[in-house]
Symmetry: C2
Subunit: 197 residues, 2 copies
Amino acid sequence: MNDGNEATGQAVVSRRKDARRNQETLLNAAATVFVASGVNAPVRDIAAKAGVGVGTIYRHFPTRADLVIAVYRHQVDACAEAGPALLATGLSPHAALGQWIDLFVDFLVTKHGLAAVLRSDNSDFEALRAYFLDRLVPVCAELLEAAAVAGEIRPGIDAYELMRGVGNLCIGADSDPRYDARHMVELLIAGLRGPHR
Amino acid sequence: MNDGNEATGQAVVSRRKDARRNQETLLNAAATVFVASGVNAPVRDIAAKAGVGVGTIYRHFPTRADLVIAVYRHQVDACAEAGPALLATGLSPHAALGQWIDLFVDFLVTKHGLAAVLRSDNSDFEALRAYFLDRLVPVCAELLEAAAVAGEIRPGIDAYELMRGVGNLCIGADSDPRYDARHMVELLIAGLRGPHR
DNA sequence: AACGATACGGAACACGGTTCCGCTTTGGCA
DNA sequence: TGCCAAAGCGGAACCGTGTTCCGTATCGTT
């Protein structure tokens, strides 16, 4: 689907020096602008910040979603890798799951507007959603399975649904002082325990 | 804030006959288009369906959000009124709360894209969100209070947060066969019971 | 130094909400 | 009934998005 950009592969080699430099510049500019103005900052703003034309962005990242993926890829990967690690700490599986979800929530709510973009209507950002879910759902499933085996949660919880649910709960967590996504996520995780008290 | 349109008041009187007829036509057209293409259908589509110019829409409804409010106002009101009624049926407060939330969820998930528009970032649709919350948060608070008094749920749950959380969980419930908002809402409501099992 | 391949800039396009204004319709009044 | 100001209407035009296109500039190889 893609040629040689950071978004989907790592073949950063064999390209003109200026191209590689621009890609680097773009990622930095995008990261900066995302922090300042949120993930929905106009492409033109990012181009301006990087001092390049919009065409350059689209040559490196076929769509805005790919740029967002590239910017957050490392952090998503780190989150994914934290799952097994937590399980190995000796915490109870349910506690490990809780902490892992906290990690995910922290990541989402500190990225202005990121959660909103992960929602499953909105057909742009398909690639972004796919990347997040491909990476994180298996980890979640593993944690869920461990907790289920330990009898700490009700069985039959679908990791995909849970990730989507948690992601949804984080939407607008910034930008609305009266809404604290962590409270709701905590309730949701608490609800994982048996069907009734 | 507003003059004499359905969105915020009821003074439908003292306007030209054609204006009232057009408003009626518009509401019907909008409702039809919303069902067919979702709440995010372009204003031009609605205008076309109604056989009027876009200017006419904006004269009757200052913004798209006001049109959406007008279309769903009755159903929101009905939902609000169902709360006290459920409480009076003799069900346990927690059960009543559960059923009321179900009503709300049913309403949201059957309106293609409505939930997505209620999310609290997205500064358009401020009016829409305000209407929903003004109407439903007090009802939710009442049900929550009753359940708390009965000792069925943990205390200190904020009705506003809960409504926002439930609304968020419903985002994209249509348009994604793998995600069933009802499951997640059920977990959330289950989580309302004591802090630990 | 020259030249083909690669990359760049940014104008132009598609598409959404919203505004504006010249024209039409209505309805009270002579 | 006929007139005409006010009320309403239609839709072109405008603004802000993401995305595409293509003439021009740069690179790096010969």
